[in-house]
């Protein structure tokens, strides 16, 4: 027999699913609405027109001659210029928010973020080295992405190792280890750039350090979007373990889960996602910190809600952040990494200064 409380609890689960579907819808609307912004503003009707044409073309193979067809200016602006970069933005936002949530569970500290812990810098260093010195050339054109992954993974492991030296990792030790490693990686990136003194490389490298969605194309997007979807689904299956991770290793063992291998697997997956995100869009900071924090305030700590909702909110957040980047200064574009840092760093400081910060919004 169900009591009133249990009925309420089951209804809450349904409410959670409702939130997820609402956010999926909101993401779709955001993506198409954001296409209308730019140097030339477009009516939303044209956006859906192009998408309609694409869908018909793709599914039915039929050629419909309209003003949205391939080769038209509208088609090129919507499909080849604006949409790829927005899709990339959504994927990067989802990846960063997801990695933020998972890393916060791994280090049991809500201040963790790929950028703050220096992991984005590690990926950026890997990518820079690969570009400038053709390291890992056996991987061909993928070498940059592979090196970004390797850089992210090495820094993830180094942060965990350094923070755990001499006893349990504390927030202070984590942040110190992260900022020190970040400084080291940035210094070596700059050193490499200085050594090469190359003319063509810097624009790409500046994109990695400042973050930008400008180089988006469908080919790279395909791989990245698939990776983000797979990563999100993977972590949705891991929600129970992520919850136990917050209780610590000792509690997890007495509740039937040995976290050791889980932790390694999670580090690999998050490093892969961060490596790909940096490879495609450079270092974009604080998304992995601010988004999970906001979601926890509203929905609580349970990862069953936190994982899907954070990924979706991160995606929507970055789509609109990119719109802001393109419209704040008329005729000019702010690198998105600069914008998220300008907005996110004060939030980070606020969280750090607050006397007690737990996983969520009890106060």
């Amino acid at each position: 027999m169900r009591t009133l409380k249990e009925n309420q609890k089951l209804r809450m689960d349904w409410a959670g699913a409702g939130v997820v579907w609402f956010l999926v819808l909101l993401l779709a609307v955001s993506l198409t609405a954001a296409v209308t912004f730019g140097t030339m503003s477009l009516p939303i009707r044209d956006v859906y027109g192009v998408l309609y044409y694409k869908a018909v073309h793709f599914f039915l193979g039929a050629e419909v001659p309209t003003q949205w067809a391939e080769g038209s200016a509208l088609h090129d602006v919507v499909w080849l210029i604006r949409l790829p970069r927005l899709v990339l933005g959504a994927a990067v936002g989802a990846a960063l928010a997801l990695c933020g949530v998972v890393m916060q569970a791994i280090v049991k500290n809500p201040l963790a973020d790929p950028y703050i812990l220096g992991i984005s810098s590690g990926a950026s260093l890997g990518a820079t080295l690969a570009t400038l010195f053709s390291i890992c050339a056996v991987w061909g054109t993928k070498s940059v992405g592979v090196m970004a992954f390797v850089g992210a993974l090495m820094i993830s492991c180094a942060v965990l190792f350094l923070a755990n030296l001499g006893g349990r990792a504390t927030a202070v030790k984590l942040l110190l280890a992260g900022s020190a490693l970040s400084a080291v990686c940035n210094a070596f990136s700059n050193f490499a750039i200085y050594l090469r003194n190359d003319d063509h490389a810097p624009s790409q490298i500046i994109r990695w350090t400042m973050g930008g969605l400008g180089a988006a194309n469908w080919q790279d997007n395909q791989i990245f979007v698939l990776a983000v979807l797979a990563g999100t689904l993977f972590f949705i299956t891991q929600c129970r373990t992520l919850n136990l991770m917050l209780l610590g290793d000792d509690n997890a063992v007495t509740l039937g889960t040995d976290l050791h291998w889980h932790r390694i697997a999670y580090l690999l997956v998050t490093s892969l996602l961060i490596g790909l995100a940096v490879y495609n869009a450079g270092t974009i900071g604080f998304v992995g910190l601010v988004v999970p924090h906001g979601v926890r305030l509203l929905l609580g700590t349970d990862h069953r809600r936190l994982i899907p909702v954070s990924a979706l909110v991160g995606a929507i957040f970055l789509v609109w952040a990119d719109v802001a980047c393109r419209t704040v200064l008329p005729g000019n574009e702010i690198p998105i990494g600069i914008l998220t840092s300008m907005a996110g760093a004060p939030v980070f400081l606020y969280l750090m200064v607050r006397h007690r910060y737990g996983f969520g919004g009890s106060e």
Binding site: L244, G248, N251, T254, G358, G360
Partner: protein, 261 residues
């Protein structure tokens, strides 16, 4: 099936220091067995070896005659539930979510919590008297309430054996007695570290005493807790009386006088 928890010749070395040596401890089916001893005598370390957080350097732990290492972590979590001494957690789960985690050893890959799990959780919360606080945030509760939530989580694991490390710490006298009463009547094999000798005397079937990592005595409370023994292990003068129902009780008199004090 005998739900028996046993250590055989267990030894533990931590940081080059011998914390435990030659420890034989047994808790038989349905027995409430207490481990007593002064601070730093190795009680917590012994329990940690039993609940798998520490790997003993020598000897082994046996669950119903089978060595603990032969169980998977998941199997042992269905056999042994633990109420450890906890330190503040840096997260904000609700009480219900905390207790629900006690069901995790039973959950297969991707399996959701079902109505039965919620019923078990409600029942566990009712047993510790916290059903009214199910939706509260765990970290906003008092230390004693948190301790009871952890006990509820252990109950939700529905194990035949229960390990408790000083479960009455942080508790008001009323809840100390309630908790010991609950443990006494729970029908599980219970192994617990106790600080309070009166609680140990009143609620345990059998006691093991540790001092400096060695077993210095064992027996029923009546046999073990003599004034001589208490002075030897704890260094205090005590008077031991007997209640009408035969339970011994202890009144402490003075600390053993050190020279030149």
């Amino acid at each position: 099936m005998m739900w028996q928890v046993e250590t055989r010749n267990l030894a533990m070395k931590l940081g080059g220091q011998q914390i435990l040596e030659h420890i034989h401890v047994t808790a038989g089916k349905g027995q409430v067995v207490g481990i007593i001893g002064p601070n730093g005598s190795g009680k917590s370390t012994l329990l940690k070896c039993i609940y798998r957080v520490l790997q003993p350097t020598d000897g082994a732990v046996y669950l119903q005659g089978r060595e603990l290492g032969q169980y998977t972590v998941r199997q042992s979590a269905k056999t042994l539930a633990v109420v450890a001494q906890h330190h503040g957690y840096g997260f904000d789960f609700t009480v219900r979510e905390m207790v629900l985690m006690g069901r995790s050893p039973y959950k297969r890959f991707l399996e959701q919590d079902n109505l039965q799990d919620y019923e078990i959780v409600s029942e566990s919360l009712r047993m510790v008297g916290l059903e009214a606080k199910a939706e509260r945030i765990f970290s906003t509760l008092s230390g004693g309430e948190q301790q009871r939530v952890i006990l509820a989580r252990a109950l939700a694991q529905q194990t035949p054996c229960l390990i408790l490390d000083e479960p009455t710490n942080h508790l008001d006298i009323q809840f100390q007695l309630q908790m010991m009463e609950l443990i006494r009547n729970i029908g599980k094999t219970v192994l617990l570290a106790v600080h309070d000798l009166n609680l140990a005397a009143a609620y345990c079937d059998y006691l093991f005493a540790l001092q400096d990592g060695h077993l210095v005595g064992s027996g029923t409370p009546t046999d073990l807790l003599t004034p001589e023994f208490i002075e030897k292990v704890y260094g205090v003068h005590a008077r031991v009386g007997t209640e009408e129902d035969g339970t011994p009780y202890i009144v402490y008199r003075t600390a053993r006088k050190e020279k030149n004090v």
